[in-house]
Amino acid sequence: MYDLIIIGGGPAGISAGIYAARKKIKFLLITESFGGQSVVASEIQNWVGIKSISGFELAKKMEEHFMVQPGIEVEEGSLAEKIEKISSGFSAEGGPAVGWKVHLKNGKSFETKTILAVAGGRRRRLGVIGEKKFEGKGVAYCSTCDAPMFAKKTAAIVGGGNAALGAVKDLSAYADKVYLIVRSENIKGDQALFEEIKKDKKVEILLNSEVIEVFGSLTGEFVGGVKYLDKKDGTSKELKLDGVFVEIGSVPNSEFLGDLVKKNKYNEVVVDHGSQKTSCESIWAAGDITDLPYRQIIISASDGIKALLSIKEYLNGGK
């Protein structure tokens, strides 16, 4: 039986893993792959200590940093499916000796005294007519992957955070015309990045605009454009497009926790933001799976460490 199983290999899982290894906790890290959601970011300029780095390079550096720690155990290539309560024979403060059996999608299972859930999130969909139908046929979710396919074409990016602003830059390198469609009046991403984009002659910014439909081209096989609501005058308008890149944040990968922990209406795991404790004793969570207000790589990494330090205290019997 492990003292700790870390579920997830993004910034929160990796930082917690490095601390766990250095504290010689007997732990296992389970992840489908390392790096988390930012692996697809073309450029990260706000990781302290590094002026500019691609998401892929940063993820690789994090993974390498973790992998050189002595005595670590990793189960890579599969996801956690569900967690079952078992008896662990270990109790921190004289309470019930609860432990957990983590079942993976590949059929394996592992037992542990404590769990750190850092499984992150997956892309949020727009949820409008045509989005699913044209996924891969012009509707895209990875600008570093698919931007070259829109060379000399017209594309729109939907969203207002740093991921959306980064995607505008990725597309502008290839496309003839790029629209940024933002639902609110303000940009959530960094002003520095926004100003850079505003100077780009290829880019047109539509604030207060909400996409309501993705429609097809004449042949019907690929994207032809979007319909959006211009909230300034309340009218519905159309844009002719070849591609629509959706960058509107993430939804938490919290399904595997079932009803064991308290979640909010967005399915985010509710945690105490000092200790990262969930509502269930011996389960902690950190990063984008939780109800944290700000989604940043550096915040996920530090929340992972907060969780680990709290777990260490618990394993020491509350000291």
């Binding site: 792959s33 790096g35 692996v39 697809v40 073309s42 691609s54 998401g55 892929f56 290539g77 891969g136 046929k137 012009g138 895209a140 990875c142 570093t144 992957c145 698919d146 931007a147 070259p148 396919m149 060379a151 990725d170 096989e221 690929f222 591609g243």
Partner: protein, 81 residues
């Protein structure tokens, strides 16, 4: 592992999942041909025609076409499981 099936990976240089697919094949000692659809226009047309979509990576194994780094599908087509 050895396979008689011809393998082609349609990719772009900045695509993380493309790198992961290539790593997967390299780790299993499986040879593949790479088509960079960011610059190879003929290759791009071929990819769209075969996969009926615009996203990378596209992995062609024999006559099977897999869109995205779908490890389970790749292992199935190659009979690795």
């Amino acid at each position: 592992m050895h396979t008689d099936k011809k393998i082609k990976i349609y990719s772009t240089p900045t695509c993380f999942y493309c790198v992961k697919v290539k790593e997967f094949f390299a780790k299993n000692n499986i040879k593949y041909e790479e088509v960079n659809v960011a610059t190879d226009m003929k290759g791009r047309e071929e990819m769209v025609k075969k996969s009926h979509q615009l996203g990378v990576p596209v992995i062609e194994i024999g006559h099977e076409v897999i869109v995205g780094f779908d490890r389970v599908a790749i292992e199935e087509v190659l009979g690795m499981k």
